[in-house]
């Protein structure tokens, strides 16, 4: 039997999900599959679109790969728009040609609604839906300072976040009296507004734009119906979506009154051979503008094409849980209490910035809906109550009251029925997860791989972890946080043991609290803890064997066994005389030199025995160790600041040098990088650092927990307009809290993400001193600052310590015979394995 042709129009998230479902099923063999995508790019994750400005690329966001399409024999036509459907001939016409079909799937999605405002055709009026749109926004934002988003809904606030991450002063203009009018009520909307304004995004509600004209200070001026106006350099319209139904409309399919391709429960349109899924489809009079219902439609249609007569789309839960500009927002079910007889329970803590509302049935037994702003902590529990109709406890208000007030314990994973939906994107139930564990999955990663749970929007990650941990524990699998086989403790627990018991050596610690002799995991971790607690020289006899070679020899080992040397250049400021010394030393020892990303000079190729000699010369010229080898502060990068730069508003170099001198030598769970920018142009790239400082007219803005490298993360704005003293005090507290509580090799970004309560909690601890340890953290930091010593200075002055740098203890003059060198671009470098063969 010859194959039928199945054509899918649209290559977005839902269209891709449909193909995944279909290729994994028996129907895959029945069809030749063709896909047409209007965009140039393969389907990508639109839910996380704003991460594109946070460093994610199309490849990071892509749903699949071209290889996957090829492997599954899917004929993929990107950048090829379908212009017409001929239902009689069963063909589609594209910009390139005409193709016959037996079954046709419309997954055309939606387009952003641009309100009919005079002037909206201006080139700096943009929309926010595709990666191309984002490129346009980025281009438009070049060199300007203000951006407006029209629309205060979910997507609008995402777009505002994107503008903010481009460094613009972001404004949100909303027609309704509050933000997120669909999901939130008046109080919730007001709190969200307050929080977002605190983050520097200005919100204008009840504003109807009448026209867009040329601006005076900026490119554009928006005039509002109340005679007020706003100047801006660019406008992003995000005032809702409209189903992309043009093709269907032109070919005579049934269309809803306000748009949308009408489908039945099997996702089939008024033509039995044409189907529609996702945001272009209208089911029961409703468009579903979220990804989860679109996925459910995709699964339903794939099952129906496989001959499953019971497959049916029966509507979808529209509950949402989001972090908008870092603010938690949750909305469940009947959030506005429109069910007859519904009653409300509200908790509004303006102090803490938490708003919670439960909508319960007349008899008080079931949860109909809920609204959360400021803290999504109760969301998972509430959602499970609502979705599964679990009878509420006698005092349902305890579900949203803070725990300290005698709240009911959260609905544990045990209380969930097997049918409870854990991941709505991939329709994974608790039963599916238990099944995967019984089939051999023994950790979170393998359960995710097996069931796909939490690989969609990721909103269920915490709940999934709880369910998996609880089920594993029930089956007798211990979920281990132990650092290694020698200590049944996490790094944080070890820190407490050392601190509380005043333990000063590894031997004492392992004898009293561990077993065996230690290893290359626990020894350096304990060395770092001991250094933080007592700050003794890392080459003190007891500590030497604990350190990685880089720490032991205070240099970075390279692949051929030689070392690189990085002297400290605080803030990247260096005198000509010192630069000359670096050059002379490099020349004398034939060292390869390279400028690092942290504004210093790296000298490569020193042998072990040369290290102390080289350092003697560097120290004599006034250099100190740069700790490039240590889990400690690396550099504080800076721009040139107000001293020279016509834009600078503060002395960023001075502050960078001060910070570098203060925190140098601090031992921590992982390396720490900082930067100070002298103005909002951010030339020092402070927002990619663990600690980032950006000058303002009034002082300093502090950003924390950013990261470059393998897993880039924009730092979060932590506090604004700080004085010098406030800045240092806050950094003291954040750093010391990190050093005390982070896991081994955990950068600040991951630490903060794993911190229960996240950024808000960290703010409470550091800014509001919620744990009452602020003073202690500051004093601890002060004592470390006070006991700083340049490790290299101490080492070269101590003959016993210098002995460690003999390459061969019985042959001081012997050169390591394996080191072979060649010259490239006028410098010496090791001969590579491929060259020496």
């Amino acid at each position: 039997m010859s194959k039928q042709t199945l054509i899918v129009i649209g290559n977005g998230m839902v269209g891709h999900h449909f193909l995944e479902q279909l290729t994994g099923s028996a129907a895959a063999d029945r069809f030749d599959i063709k896909v047409f995508g209007e965009e140039k790019l393969l389907a990508y994750d639109r839910v996380h679109l704003s991460e594109y400005f946070g460093g994610s690329t199309h490849a990071d966001l892509a749903m699949g790969t071209a290889d996957w399409y090829a492997e599954n024999n899917i004929d993929l036509h990107l950048n090829e728009q379908v212009t017409a459907i001929d239902r009689d001939q069963k063909t589609v016409t594209t910009s390139e040609g005409s193709y016959g079909y037996d079954e046709l799937v419309l997954a055309t999605g939606s387009y952003p609604f641009v309100p009919p405002i005079k002037g909206n055709e201006h080139p700096h009026c943009l929309v926010y839906r595709t990666l191309e749109d984002l490129d346009s926004i980025r281009a438009s934002a070049q060199g300007v300072k203000t951006g407006v988003v029209v629309g205060g809904g979910l997507l609008g606030l995402e777009a505002a976040n994107a503008l903010k991450s481009l460094g613009l002063d972001a404004h949100v203009v909303e027609f309704a009296p509050r933000l997120m009018p669909v999901q939130l009520d008046t109080d919730g909307g007001a709190l969200l507004r307050h929080k977002i304004e605190e983050l520097g995004v200005q919100v204008h509600t009840e504003k109807a734009t009448t026209e867009i004209v040329e601006g005076e200070d900026c490119r554009l001026r928006m005039n509002f119906s109340d005679d007020s106006h706003l100047e801006t350099d660019l406008i992003v319209f995000s005032a809702g979506i409209r189903p992309q139904d043009t093709l269907a409309r032109d070919s005579g399919l049934d269309i809803g009154e306000r748009g949308g391709i009408v489908i039945n429960d099997q996702c089939t349109t008024s033509d039995p051979h044409i189907h529609a899924i996702g945001e272009c489809a209208l089911w029961g009079g409703k468009i579903f503008g979220l990804v989860a219902p679109g996925y459910t439609m995709a699964r339903t249609l794939a099952s129906a094409l496989n001959g499953d007569s019971e497959a049916a789309f029966t509507g979808a839960d529209m509950s949402t849980k989001l972090k908008l500009l870092g603010v938690d927002v949750g909305s469940i079910g009947d959030a506005h209490g429109q069910t007859p007889g519904a009653r409300n329970i509200r908790f509004n803590d303006e102090q803490a910035g938490h708003y919670r509302r439960m909508v319960v049935s007349e008899d008080g037994k079931t949860l109909l809906g809920a609204i959360l702003v400021g803290d999504n902590g109760p969301y998972d529990t509430l959602l499970q109550y609502a979705l599964n109709g679990i009878t509420l406890p006698d005092n349902p208000e305890t579900l949203i009251l803070p725990e300290s007030e005698g709240g009911a314990p959260a609905l544990g994973p045990d209380a969930l029925p097997e049918t409870a939906s854990i991941c709505s994107c991939h329709n994974v139930t608790k039963g599916d997860i238990c099944g995967a564990i019984d089939a051999g999955c023994s950790d979170l990663g393998s359960v995710k791989g097996e069931t796909k749970a939490s690989t969609g929007c990721g909103g269920c990650a915490a709940l999934l972890k709880n369910v998996v941990d609880s089920e594993l524990e029930k089956r007798g699998v211990e979920v281990s946080k132990d650092i290694c086989e020698h200590f049944p403790y996490s790094r944080q627990e070890l820190f407490h043991l050392v601190k509380v018991n005043g333990i000063r050596t590894f031997q004492t610690l392992i004898q009293e609290h561990g077993k065996g002799h230690g290893c290359d995991i626990c020894k350096p971790a304990v060395a770092s803890i001991l250094a933080t607690c007592w700050n003794e020289h890392i080459l003190a006899t007891d500590h030497v064997p604990l350190q990685d070679t880089n720490d032991t020899f205070m240099a970075n080992m390279q692949k051929n066994g030689t070392y690189s040397i990085v002297p400290r250049v605080p803030g990247g400021e260096i005198t000509p005389d010192k630069l000359i010394v670096l050059g002379e030393v490099a020349k004398e020892y034939n060292l390869y030199t390279k400028i690092t990303g942290g504004q210093r000079v790296d000298l490569f190729g020193a042998t072990l025995s040369e290290l102390p000699e080289i350092w003697e010369k560097l120290i004599a010229a006034g250099f100190e160790t740069g700790h490039a080898y240590g889990k400690s502060l690396r550099t504080v990068k800076s721009c040139v600041g107000s001293t020279w730069c016509r834009y600078g508003v503060q002395d960023s170099v001075g502050m960078a040098i001060f910070l570098e001198d203060r925190y140098k030598g601090l031992r921590s769970p992982h390396k720490i990088k900082m930067a100070v920018s002298g103005c909002t142009r951010e030339c020092a790239e402070a927002q990619s650092k663990d600690i980032g400082v950006i000058a303002t007219e009034n002082g300093w803005n502090l950003y924390v927990c950013g990261n470059g490298g393998m897993r880039p993360r924009h730092a979060d704005l932590f506090a604004t307009d700080l004085s010098d003293e406030e800045l240092v005090r806050t950094i003291d507290r954040v750093l010391m809290f990190y050093v005390r509580t982070a896991d081994r090799l955990q950068r600040t970004s991951v630490w903060m993400e794993n911190l229960e309560g996240g950024l808000e909690y960290l703010k409470e601890v550091a800014l509001e001193d919620s744990l009452g340890i602020g003073k202690e953290l500051e004093e601890h930091m002060e004592s470390i600052v006070g006991t700083y010593q340049c490790e290299w200075k101490t080492a070269v002055e101590d003959p016993e310590k210098r002995k460690r740098f003999r390459e061969f203890v019985n042959a001081p003059e012997k050169k390591d015979p394996v080191q072979q060198w060649t010259t490239e671009r006028d410098q010496r470098r090791p001969v590579l394995e491929t060259e020496s063969a």
Partner: protein, 122 residues
């Protein structure tokens, strides 16, 4: 033919670093000598050359034990080598040379194979 060996003095006790290693030059090339005072025997000697990188670095690795076996971890790519057998714990096809070692007064002696040309040169 059985290779000839010699018990050479390679260094003194004071050259050793407790719980760690030092490198010595022998007629068989560079050797790492480890001193683990909390064990009996306390002395171990293995090749100083890391087989994965070809670099002479193993004496600068961190010592410890994995499931009771005394090991050193390569400072470059972190593989573990048994100090008793030289076996790499991560790759059963890789094994490094081990050398008998003993304490003679305050001197450390190592049994190394002697090749004719090298003895002549020495």
């Amino acid at each position: 033919m059985k290779a000839r060996t010699s018990w050479d003095v390679v260094c003194k006790v004071e050259d050793l670093v407790p719980e760690s290693g030092v490198a010595v030059w022998t007629e068989d090339g560079p050797v790492a000598v480890f001193y683990l005072p909390h064990r009996l025997p306390a002395l171990f000697a293995v090749s100083h050359t890391d087989p994965f990188s070809g670099s002479n670095v193993l004496a600068r690795g961190i010592t410890g034990d994995i499931k009771g076996e005394p090991v050193v971890a390569s400072p470059l790519y972190k593989q573990h080598f048994s100090l008793v057998t030289g076996q790499c714990l991560e790759d059963e096809d890789v094994k490094i040379e081990t050398y008998p070692v003993l304490l003679d007064g305050d001197q450390i002696r190592l049994e190394v194979p002697v090749t004719h040309s090298e003895t002549a040169a020495a």
